[in-house]
């Protein structure tokens, strides 16, 4: 909300500097986002009177003028402007002055123009940064000719209305009452402990027999409609004060009647509309919802086709305005308008918002309605508008007032009463605010306070513009924001009970998992929870792939961020591609995040959020480095994971493993499919893996049970055999372990292929570790080990057709 200091001063006697005012506003909840002194770039410019105009001796297009600046003396100024004349009063920049030029600032210095001394520059309105609304004539081509009665030698900023501060104030959503000059003035008065001057709303009426009844069909969408008829309207220009104020707030002056509606919107916070009475057919106003496809052309000459949830203001025959958004072209105020029907209404904010969004039509009025307009504003706004009509002499208010709503006038709006105690208010704050201070603060803000000593009860009547204040904590906030937060005495939970804090068991496991991966050289990534459905195509997922059953965001920012992740690999792949394009030739990343699985689409029940780990590795390292990381996790959490050959459409068919826990598939690992790598122009190998932690986490927590160390040492023997190519490491290992209980582990340490071994054959070398039984009384004898070894060789021959090398 913009607030010009000059306008504020009409209601509050501000006796602090603008910087102090900014501080004060900030302290009571109104952050000044920007404070601008309007005359900052116009300095050393004064009103001068042209005494003499002569032709320049050496330049036809230049005029040499002598100007009088009163007690500042006289100056000779050359100008190329053609609208100057003897006796004219003009703004003139003297030596050392600054004025505006094409969006920048220019310095003015004494110099010579074609040999003739020029001690400054006469200024146009543009050079002062003003329009006709600030000062009539500012937009003419040439020098701004000032009124004859301006005092010579006066600082031009005072003359043209730019000796002013403009505050841009952030108003929180609970304070629609402060979306207006008068509302902010009330806060300023309270925080400066000054009197708030009343808003002038008095006017007299002339009797009329005419009636324009108002019928509201949608009382929920339009809880109040106030209408008034104004006769003898004389459309014309608004006085300078109104035009200037509108201009300060960024609005252009249209004509006196339209300007009054805008002025009231800014000052009181009530959007108003003025209809040309002659174009209202059927002598009535009906507030109803549009019929599907009904059309209206708004003041800005745009035609809209409406829907049933758009609220309309209609006359006896047709729509004349989109409620709260914009008036219709058909009843626009024109130069010849003789009678005006003023509207001040309350429309439901979500209705205005939805209509305004759906139609793509915004206005100052709709913006204001979206923030919330209370009944009191409509009554006050109408009175203020009629007061201004009379003050400006641009029409005669009549005694016809149409009010459609729960309350007939501002006086009838019941005040909300809060019954509380000083102690309750203080209990929220934790400090003792003196009772008299509490009273004063609340009264300054318009609350009525009475204290019943017998009952110890404080009764506070809430003013009608403070619908946000409902209970004693709200009063506590009013008190502390005016009393000052610096009065709070920081305490450290003096009354609270001791509680046990920290991560839950499951969260601790997650933290441990992250740290294990960190130790394996993986860095933690963080990706958005949504991506593009195109990822499914990139990763070659079939039309029925479960990953495609993704939840769509109804209002995504764009297609690229439109579906919730059903698996995490696409995000990880995107990270890897980004890294490679930036020249990061190798790396390891992981992300621990939820994927979202719909139980049905479209959604009916809450979707499942599955904690999932995704791993990515590129450049240096291969499948077994990735697998090693997963095995390190298994080791850290004491999980018995198994790996089986697997398949995923986006992975290399020969380099893909499923990860199993027992018989349950809990994830996969593999190399990115070379076709996809080629499509992405990736030259380095990329490995991806995913583990569903929700399937693992139940198995995470374990109690450590100590086992006695073996009494006798283990014996290791190496075993190499030739087997067919198709025999996997896992099969051979299982066969060895089955063959003898004394083998505690069998680890593959070498695979060797050679023509001499035969086609489709390979040699596998395992290191076997034999240990005696825990209860054994003696170590394993070489003979016993030899016996186990024989059994194993026999089993390999029989089951896998392997031959000892």
């Amino acid at each position: 909300m913009l607030l010009p200091l000059s306008w504020l001063k009409e209601y509050v006697d501000v006796d602090v500097t603008s910087e102090e005012l900014q501080e004060k506003l900030f302290s009571c909840g109104f952050e000044v986002e920007e404070m601008k002194y309007l005359g900052k770039d116009v300095t050393n410019v004064f009103v001068g009177r042209i005494e003499k105009c002569e032709k320049h001796p050496d330049a036809d297009r230049l005029t040499v003028c002598t100007l009088d600046f009163g007690d500042k003396g006289k100056r000779q100024i050359c100008t190329a402007a053609t609208n100057v004349f003897e006796g004219a009063k003009v703004p003139c920049a003297l030596d050392g002055a600054t004025v505006l030029k094409e969006g920048g600032v220019q310095k003015i210095k004494t110099g010579k123009l074609r040999g003739v001394l020029s001690e400054g520059m006469m200024c146009s309105g543009e050079e002062l940064g003003i329009t006709d609304d600030f000062y009539e004539g500012a937009e003419v081509n040439g020098i701004l000719i000032l009124d004859e009665n301006e005092r010579i030698g006066e600082d031009i900023r005072k003359v043209v209305g730019i000796d002013d501060y403009l505050f841009d104030i952030a108003v929180t959503a609970n304070r629609p009452d402060c979306q207006s000059i008068y509302g902010l003035a009330r806060e300023v008065a309270a925080v400066l402990k000054k009197e708030l001057k009343p808003l002038e709303t008095g006017y007299t009426t002339e009797k009329t027999e005419e009636k324009i009844p108002v019928e509201v069909k949608e009382k929920k969408l339009c809880p109040l409609y106030v209408g008034n008829l104004v006769k003898d309207v004389k459309i014309g220009k608004s006085p300078r004060l109104i035009r200037r104020r509108l201009a300060l707030m960024g609005l252009r002056s249209v004509n006196n009647i339209v300007d009054i509606t805008n002025y009231v919107l800014l000052e009181v916070g009530q959007p108003m509309h003025a209809f040309d009475r002659n174009f209202l057919r059927g002598d009535k106003i009906v507030v109803r919802c549009a019929e599907e496809g009904e059309k209206i052309t708004t003041l800005d000459e745009k035609e809209f086709s409406l829907r049933q949830d758009n609220l309309l203001i209609c006359d006896g025959e047709r729509p004349v305005a989109i409620a709260g958004v914009m008036g219709g072209l058909n009843s626009e105020i024109k130069q010849e308008t003789g009678e005006v029907f003023f509207e001040a209404a309350c429309f439901a904010r979500d209705s205005v918002r939805k209509t305004s969004r759906a139609l793509g039509q915004r206005s100052d009025s709709s913006a204001r309605f979206e923030k919330g307009v209370y009944e009191i504003f409509a009554f006050e706004g109408m009175s203020r508008a009629l007061h201004l009509v009379q003050q400006l002499g641009c029409g005669t208010p009549t005694d016809f007032t149409a009010v459609a709503g729960a309350h007939g006038s501002a006086k009838d709006i019941p005040a909300r009463k809060i019954r509380t105690t000083y102690q309750k208010i203080n209990s929220v704050l934790g400090i003792e605010v003196p009772e008299s201070e509490t009273d004063k603060i609340l009264r300054r803000l318009g609350f009525t306070v009475s204290f019943n000593k017998k009952k110890g009860e404080l009764s506070v009547a809430v003013p009608p513009w403070r619908e946000d204040v409902e209970d004693f904590p709200d009063l506590a906030e009013e008190v502390i924001r005016m009393y000052g937060y610096e009065h709070l005495r920081p305490t450290f939970l003096e009354n609270a009970k001791v509680t046990r804090g920290g991560f839950s068991g499951e969260q601790k496991q997650e933290n441990k998992l992250k740290n294990v991966l960190k130790g394996q050289g993986f860095s933690e990534a963080c990706n958005y929870s949504f991506y593009s459905p195109k990822e499914f195509d990139l990763l070659r997922l079939g039309p029925d792939a479960p990953e495609r059953q993704a939840i769509r965001i109804l209002n995504p920012i764009g297609e690229d961020l439109s579906v919730l992740r059903t698996f995490l690999a696409p995000s990880m792949l995107a990270d890897i591609v980004r890294n490679l394009r930036r020249g990061n030739a190798d790396g390891k990343l992981f992300e621990l995040a939820n994927r979202y699985l719909a139980r049905e689409l479209p959604l009916v029940s809450r979707p499942e959020e599955r904690r999932t780990l995704v791993l990515g590795l590129w450049g240096e390292g291969d499948f077994f480095d990735l697998k090693g990381a997963v095995e390190a996790l298994a080791e850290a959490f004491d999980l018995k994971l198994r790996f089986e050959k697997g398949a995923r459409p986006y992975l290399h068919p020969g380099v893909t493993a499923d990860v199993l826990l027992g018989e349950k598939r809990v994830g996969y690992l593999g190399e990115l499919h070379p076709m996809i790598a080629e499509e992405l122009a990736i030259e380095r190998k990329v490995y991806l893996g995913e583990l569903d932690l929700s399937l693992l986490s139940g198995k995470f927590s374990r109690d450590i049970v100590f086992r006695n160390l073996p009494k006798f040492e283990s014996v290791t023997r190496d075993l190499a055999f030739v087997a067919e190519e198709k025999v996997t490491c896992a099969e051979a290992e299982a066969c060895i372990l089955r063959a003898s209980k004394a083998v505690k582990s069998a680890e593959l340490f070498d695979v060797y292929r050679d023509k001499k071994l035969g086609a489709d054959k390979k040699s596998m070398a395992f290191r076997l570790t034999f240990s005696p039984d825990e209860k054994a009384e003696k170590p394993l004898s070489p003979e016993a080990v030899e016996g186990f070894f024989e059994k194993i060789v026999h089993a390999l021959e029989k089951e896998l057709h392997a031959e000892l090398r």
Partner: protein, 339 residues
Amino acid sequence: MEDTELIENEAQREAETAQDSHALYEIKMKFLGRTGKVTALLKNMREIEADKRPAFGKRVNDLRESLERKFALLEEKLKKRELERRLAAEEIDVTVPGRRFKPGALHPVTRVRDKLVDLFAGIGFEVFEGPEIEDQYYNFTALNTPEDHPARDMQDTFYLSNGFLLRTQTSAGQIRVMESRKPPIKIVSPGRVFRSDDDATHSPMFHQMEGLVVDRGITLCDLSGMLDEFARAMFTKETKTRLRPSYFPFTEPSVEVDVSCFSCGGKGCPLCKGTGWIEVLGAGMVNRKVLKNCGIDPDEYSGFAFGLGLERIAMLKYGINNIKLLTENDVRFLAQFKD
């Protein structure tokens, strides 16, 4: 010449040709081993006349002793030479880089989260993580946001269906905790939140951490004291906080919290835009209606809540100047957050 003399000379000659201790050993065995030449002499004892035997025996023994001494001396010399050679051969260039293993790093947001949890856990706050997909009730209604309130619009929400949405604030988790537990309650709730906002300074997904205390006699002064503790732990010991009025539907009174600029100490610098203060979080006393919505008697209990953006804190703390860096996952960026 006596045979012992011959042997001695032969042994001496051969021993001197040995290039290493192994060769020397072979030679030693040739003479002194079980089947060596010196041993053979003794075996021939029987063939020597009895009266000459003692003298012969002594000669052979002298020979053995003499040879053993010689071999020992030579061995020592050879071993020494061998060791010298080995040490020379094994010399390495110690300036060659070691076999390094690069550990990974946790995401800066995780680091900030863990630091905060560490602080609050010490004061008795449990960590609670609510769902990321919420419904209107938990995200808005229970938090006292009326149907038509601009607050529902204030935070542009991603809707998934009529009922479900991506939570816009971790405050939604407050309700779940208060519904399921009785005071005293102290929780922090970190997690992902989502808003339909994507520009130079906003991401559609970011992390918040909500804090909530509900107990008897909790006041705004307690909130103020807690925030002071937070500011000192997160930034510097000298960091101060400042409260100013704000608005959130679920707290009343509501405050915006600024910390004194830890970069300039409050004098004014580019980081704090010359104001000496940096806005870090929103907070307030839990609205009585919210307590009531969760079945907690507001006349018996009161509480405070605060919510902060983890990305914002991370950016302030580490001097990260672009929020997008936090989701680009460039390994050069992440590597900077190693322990």
